[in-house]
Amino acid sequence: MPVTAIGETQVHVDAEGFLTDYDEWDEQLGGELAAQIGIEMTPAHWRVVRFLRTGYVEQGETATLRRVSMQAGIPVKDLFTLFPKKPAKKMAYVAGLPKPRGCV
């Protein structure tokens, strides 16, 4: 498992760069991960990321766009604005979680 430096922190990642250890993440790191992919975090971004983090513990997997929109009440359209082009993967990356495995 590769180790990479994000800011000052050393983290374990998979071949693509997604964090592999849930506990290596904190919000400061989340902000740095977002910066790596050109996203500046706002309260709206944090709401999504925090939902993903708690959802992962409860469900054992990363929430898909549909689950975020249905359960957190954040419209899909807004998710595309906050995390442009590839929202599901970008949200997961910033939240330090694996890519969602579901199709929808």
């Binding site: 590769p2 990479t4 430096a5 994000i6 990642v13 071949a15 693509e16 760069g17 997604f18 790596q36 992919i37 898909t64 766009l65 549909r66 689950r67 929109s69 419209p75 899909v76 359209k77 595309f80 442009p84 082009k85 590839k86 929202p87 599901a88 993967k89 970008k90 990356y93 579901g102 199709c103 929808v104």
Partner: protein, 171 residues
């Protein structure tokens, strides 16, 4: 002088440059429940990957975007050997309703939305819905009969023009 080599951080390549320009055209020509999902699921997946996606609904596929039918698509065992049941069963009264009910349940159980809900999600994700002119004329339908998000009833030639350089799926 000592130089410390710092390896660049491993960051996913999201490849979302504006000039990436990948485009997908999906032609939905079937109106069975089981034949509606593949196109819609793939459209949804493509949109989630930042791919500009256009769907063209034609012939029986028109049912997917027709208000009167989109929530009532059916699945039949008839002519479908992949159910691995005797074909004769499929023709018994009530079999199509039962098979449809079961398939809807299986789809809902894995958290996949209904056809109208999936259309909503596709539109919210920036997908484009187009209706086929010939099908509309044949079935005597106009914009008022179709899902509000359908951008227009267009000819096959118009669709080909709109999807220049797109990758294409015919379902």
């Amino acid at each position: 002088m000592t130089t410390v080599a710092t390896a660049p951080a491993i960051v996913p390549a999201f490849d979302d440059k504006d000039d990436a320009g990948r485009k997908l055209a999906i032609i939905c020509s079937k109106g069975n429940l089981d034949m509606a999902y593949p196109g819609l699921i793939l459209a949804n997946a493509a949109l989630g990957e930042g791919v500009e996606t256009h769907l063209f609904f034609t012939f029986w596929g028109f049912d997917i975007i027709t208000k009167a039918h989109m929530g009532d698509l059916k699945f039949t065992m008839l002519g479908n050997t992949a159910t691995h049941l005797p074909q004769g069963l499929g023709g018994l009264p009530g079999m199509t309703a039962m098979a449809t009910h079961r398939m809807r349940k299986q789809i809902a159980e894995i958290g996949v939305p209904t056809v109208p809900e999936l259309l909503e999600q596709i539109v919210a994700s920036g997908g484009h819905l187009w209706a086929c002119r010939m099908s509309a004329d044949m079935m005597h339908l106009d914009e008022g009969d179709l899902h509000e998000a359908v951008e227009g009833i267009i000819s096959a030639a118009d669709f080909i023009e709109k999807t220049e350089s797109a990758q294409l799926l015919f379902i």
